[in-house]
Symmetry: C2
Subunit: 372 residues, 2 copies
Amino acid sequence: MNTTTVIGTGAIGTSVALALTRRGISVHLEDVDRAAAKTAEAMGAGSLQTPDRPVDLAVLAVPPAQVGSVLARVQGSRLARAYVDVASVKQVPHDDVRAQRADPASYIGSHPLAGTERSGPLAARADLFEGRPWVLTPSESTGQDVLNRALELVALCDAMPVVMDAGMHDHAVALVSHAPHLISSLLAARLEHAPQDSVRLSGQGVADVTRIAAGDARLWGDILTSNAAAVADVLDAFASGLGRAIDALRAAGDGDPAKRARAQEDLEELLRQGNRGCARIARKPGARRTELATVAVTISDKPGALAELFTSIGELGVNIEDVRIEHSWEHTRGLVELVVQKDAAAELSRWLGSGGTWAVTRADAFSGFKTE
Amino acid sequence: MNTTTVIGTGAIGTSVALALTRRGISVHLEDVDRAAAKTAEAMGAGSLQTPDRPVDLAVLAVPPAQVGSVLARVQGSRLARAYVDVASVKQVPHDDVRAQRADPASYIGSHPLAGTERSGPLAARADLFEGRPWVLTPSESTGQDVLNRALELVALCDAMPVVMDAGMHDHAVALVSHAPHLISSLLAARLEHAPQDSVRLSGQGVADVTRIAAGDARLWGDILTSNAAAVADVLDAFASGLGRAIDALRAAGDGDPAKRARAQEDLEELLRQGNRGCARIARKPGARRTELATVAVTISDKPGALAELFTSIGELGVNIEDVRIEHSWEHTRGLVELVVQKDAAAELSRWLGSGGTWAVTRADAFSGFKTE
């Protein structure tokens, strides 16, 4: 792939253009908003000149509802040999391409799952897609060369291709993106008229749950209506869990101890389902498997012995990832397991062995997750 | 205040003990779990010796349902001159104190709003309460000297006292903590049996919304049943918003353009309510008002000019907090506003004035939020 045209210089389109330019691809930019296109050009995303022959790939970075009509127009002018859109829902573009009698053979739907909180070309970044999933939704008419061109695009943007049916994609993003956004908004809405003294008690928990509720209401209104049925299905299932939770809470407040115990069990089961669901989600960007090691130390049974140990480790500058303590240590001495980066374990063992009121008993390497 | 006893050496109790010890208060520790108490002692949180005369303040760091009975017991042995509990709900302890015929004059309820994701003494930190709200719920029987003793405790822990009625407290935490936790769990539960390819598409948004769903199911089952009625009230109101959202989504998917437009308006109104509620929440710890300044720069109308400007600023090592661009710049030149820390503005102006293909037009200071 040598030449592309990016149509639509918002945050996603400009990010694609920046990523491709960085890889030496010749990128042409097009946008009905001339100021946006000029901003993208000024950022080094590509050229505003019209290509003089068909480009290898045209990237349609336009709203979902416009994909079909824009595709029909640019295919009519023989802009490119292959066409891909990057809209956040896939069934609507898929159906519109047929309704607009565009050529489905040279087109493939796609969706890079890269969040940008801000919109417009200034929010673009060449590395926006690095390590993120990028869904491709070829139809039965999509040519294999077109699929391969799209796979090349994904690779050039350092993203991870995931091939999926358009309808399946829309249900998936309803579950992991659109419904969570609406639920976050509905919870945040409860705070709008709450007393100031109540809102003052907010901690990191509710701040995290409502963070995405700050998103652009018009943009999200568009997204939600484009994927309305799938989002409604997820919310229906969610509402039934919510109903069970409310029933359990009403029963718990009822006063009867047996009822209360049963209600608490029901609530705990709902919470455990949440634990299990939560465990399936990829950690935040930056989480990676790191080689860790355990250094086990016995400490003396005197008050402040742990504090002394931690102070000593702090002086060495080694970061403690986790601490475990043996609960049998009531008798005489305590066994403390310090979890550290593997590279630091040997140094830590030596340091601890050289002084203090403790003894290093063993050091084992293992592999675990560390979230940065 | 010179002497205290902390009853219960979990994460909260041990954190209180560490904070007080750091301030030179003599702290006695007590826990039915001897291993936990010894761990707290080893961390330097205090002494396991029983005090030989009444202490100035006893801190009851026990589960909500045990506050009344523990208070009655320790008042019977004249452990302290004043008593405060730190349980996360306040109406149940308030009622139990009366039911157990404990002395309400020497007791005050309280709740430090400090989250600890881990439990047990090893999760304790002397600075856990720094800058956090700490609610005090004096009853009509609480002595003024007892209120003042509790205010002293809050100040020694560097927290921010908030005086509130017990029932009002419980409704407030239902809104900003308990209901959000349950909603996060119910959403995470939707992911438990979802296809792996769907879960792979999860991004930072759903990860944030479901983060607290990883919390201990038994602990949260306890908290929710202790505050069941207030949480159910919040969830009922939330469920009615959810119902409206589902109706709007079903209408949007209906196919009739007028219906769809009205549905999108309804959804956007719900999303805007979410925007407004979200804006009321305190930013994450570390957010603070910073003096910022705008440096306005006109750049030439040549491709890559913005990229060149940013590269040059990068060399200077100045951090750009935000960028705004004038959309009228279609003609000849572009106006770019760079938002930086006020301290850096003068240096940036000088640096940009000394070369490059741009011109600094003005630099204004203003005050804004920066999240660290």
